[in-house]
Symmetry: C2
Amino acid sequence: MGRPHQTLLSRTAIARAALELIDDRGYEALTMRALADRLGVRGASLYHHIGSKDDVLDLVSELLDAEIDHTPLRSAPWREGIAAYARGYRRVFQRHPNAIALVARRGVHTEGALSEYDTLLATLIRAGCTPALAAETAAALDFLVIGSALETYAAGFSRPPSEYRPDYPALADSLEAAARVDPAPTALDDRGFELGLRMILGGLAHQLKTAPDE
Amino acid sequence: MGRPHQTLLSRTAIARAALELIDDRGYEALTMRALADRLGVRGASLYHHIGSKDDVLDLVSELLDAEIDHTPLRSAPWREGIAAYARGYRRVFQRHPNAIALVARRGVHTEGALSEYDTLLATLIRAGCTPALAAETAAALDFLVIGSALETYAAGFSRPPSEYRPDYPALADSLEAAARVDPAPTALDDRGFELGLRMILGGLAHQLKTAPDE
DNA sequence: ACCTGAACACCGTTCAAGT
DNA sequence: ACCTGAACACCGTTCAAGT
């Protein structure tokens, strides 16, 4: 059988197990003891590879970052490329809804995210933005992605639209109309995100056409 | 002196103390024992008034909701009214940065938020939106507010811009240009938010002018 | 009715051991 | 070098007791 154990654990194995645990059983189920369990080891062993639970959360953030497909940013035309990138960014959180609480902790600005941002900013500048405008646009796109990821998770209006009548008639009308357009529960989130994306990128295109130097 | 204590505690007193504790010492310092301490009582006493810590967090969410000024929504013209409302909404989180983790838990859609949403949607419909478009626009605005609140907290790029060179030249350029526009640390967040707001409301105004029925 | 002390089952983390 | 058992100081929560 060989020696009892040499390197059962590694930082990446721990990170992957942590993300699996979050996906399977929720963010609150991520406990050092539960994590060790999933790795066939006892809680204290983890501390030979990671410094703290916070350290583990950082590693999971990096895993999520790595899932973002930033190849669309390299593809012309810039407007479709950026839209595809933003959708892919958002899709990572849709795949890991239980991990969204991580975002609130620290954002997704891990070390690995820097080159993505650099590419996004370079794309915007190449499209005609000043560097300052590029930074603002990237921020706005980020807010939209992060905000929509969170809202999906928090899904506000859980009751059937009709229950909001008669106290909140505009709310009831809007929710019913939205459900008629697409009854899927996340459809309104998706459409709100797409609207924001269209407005930001459309507005930017218009601004670049009329005043290319700011 | 009177009798020893009758109703030292109440749900609102607990909620207010909880928000104070979060503001003063951070989200993680909100402990049932620390909360009881601040109220001059022992931990177990709290459970005569609230059901669980989760219950307390909900109460704090309602407190934050109540801080949002939604009077601008009633003021014409709609575009400025909605912009002022969104800024005020965001300002609540700027006043309580440590409370942003609450948002990830549940969003801000407490019972008290319903009438705000109803008013926002009514304003959009009065401005010419279909109910479905109003819902999507409200969602996009929400994403922008929530996302920008979170990003401020998570403030990504903490190092001086020059450190990102030469690996990430577009990032360094953008951050330096943004700092020249306004060196305040949250300025880029503010400007990104304003850009998103301008794009969404401007795009909407344009859409309502060219195709008033969708 | 409301506050309390003590207890329960958990946490994250440390550390002297073992191999 | 790496895993472990036992312990530490904490959690949220419960409950029999006191007033």
